[in-house]
Symmetry: C2
Subunit: 227 residues, 2 copies
DNA sequence: GTCTATAGACAGATAGAC
DNA sequence: GTCTATCTGTCTATAGAC
């Protein structure tokens, strides 16, 4: 605790030593989080051994406990990092945008994010399926608030007659489910599409399907009511 | 192994005793599978302790190993039981049915099945996210074959002009994702809908949203091409 | 068919030399 | 900042009395 910067540290050398330690710390923490995310995605919290995280991160196990106090602390850090990434795709949904251009851009960015951050996506899915035991109240409030903000925009679009009436909360649920399924349940998707793994062009097909089914159903008809 | 039917068993009593044991066996195996499904759903395979299964099933732990040889055997039995249940909802999809009545009936039965078998649904989701390590080749082939059978029907409907063109495999993926999300990710859904838990009427809203977005987008337009 | 006791392996976490 | 050795507890699975 008190022992820092090595035995030969004197006043004046501490800043330089601290910077060096900081670099190592950042590199190692990143390696730990990366390794942990992959394992937590595959096996969940209880199923992931601290030893496995250490091996995959290329560090001795004891070092995990130097950078993080508990396995839970590693898990929570990974969740926080993921949630920070979720928000970005929602930026397309702005009141002044064209509803269908905005929603299509959102769908495409969401699919892309999941594809490029597959382990994080799966880890989060695992966390929710397990009953969200580690998702903090603050994280849940944040996700709730940003969703609410976007539902108001959908409601505005509906009120303006630019979209057919739809429950915006359920619409978001449908969009989340479809944009995450391909990555989270990749094994099923691969079996269904008869491919060993998913390529970008499969994600392009996914985007097209979502746009032509989910979103197309929301375009206002020329005859504004329906059979 | 050889010791059966208790000490006082004589020739002629064995059949009766065997029936009695059979009843106990069925009851206990069911209790074990039920308890295991709930726990596997929450914590995955590695995260679930045999002791917990036993406690929840109301049996001493050693009895688990009397009915099943390993924890994996329990897990596989639960998976098999679940897959047997998946097929039912697909029966609505018949070539001679109306496409939209058939698909709506499928969606509603699928949502209903997930709602009433939440633990099984979540356990299966957990298994796939984890990379499907225990899903047997035979199970995957079965799921693939039944899906293929139904995609042919969708293709026929499209060819007949009763539905807009769509990749049937992707359509099934979209329908699976939306009908399972509400149950598998119930925590997120509850936060989004601002409810402590999901009621049947929330599932009714879900069905309506899926029908009015996904399926509505597939109805052939009066003008058969599109902007 | 039930249950106690325990073997044997391995987990998370820590102490302290370097 | 790294790493060996180890503490303490828990796990799956089994042996064997009842």
């Amino acid at each position: 605790m008190a022992k820092k910067a090595g035995p030969r540290a004197k006043a004046g050398e501490q800043a330089g030593a601290a910077r060096g330690e900081e670099r190592i710390r950042q590199r190692n923490e990143k390696a730990i989080l990366r390794a942990a995310t992959t394992l937590f995605a595959k096996k969940g919290f209880d199923g992931t051994r601290a030893t496995e995280i250490a091996e995959r991160a290329g560090l001795p196990k004891a070092n995990l406990y130097y950078y993080f106090n508990t396995k839970e602390e590693i898990y929570r850090a990974a969740i926080r990092h993921l949630i920070a990434g979720w928000d970005k795709a929602l930026r397309h949904i702005r009141a002044d945008a064209d509803p269908f251009e905005a929603l299509e851009a959102y769908v495409r960015e969401k699919l892309d994010y999941a594809r490029k951050n597959a382990d994080e996506s799966r880890m989060f899915a695992n966390e929710i399926i397990s009953g969200a035991p580690f998702l903090s109240r603050a994280d849940r409030k944040h996700m709730h608030d940003i969703t609410l903000e976007k539902t108001l925009i959908i409601e505005q679009w509906v009120a303006e007659g630019r979209m057919r009436p739809v429950n915006p909360r359920h619409l978001f649920i449908v969009l989340w489910s479809t944009t995450q399924f391909y990555t989270n349940f990749e094994k099923i998707t691969c079996d269904t599409l008869e491919k060993p793994r998913l390529s970008p062009s499969d994600y392009e097909d996914a985007a097209r399907t979502i746009v032509e089914t989910v979103l197309r159903g929301l375009r206002p008809g020329k005859a504004s009511s329906d059979p």
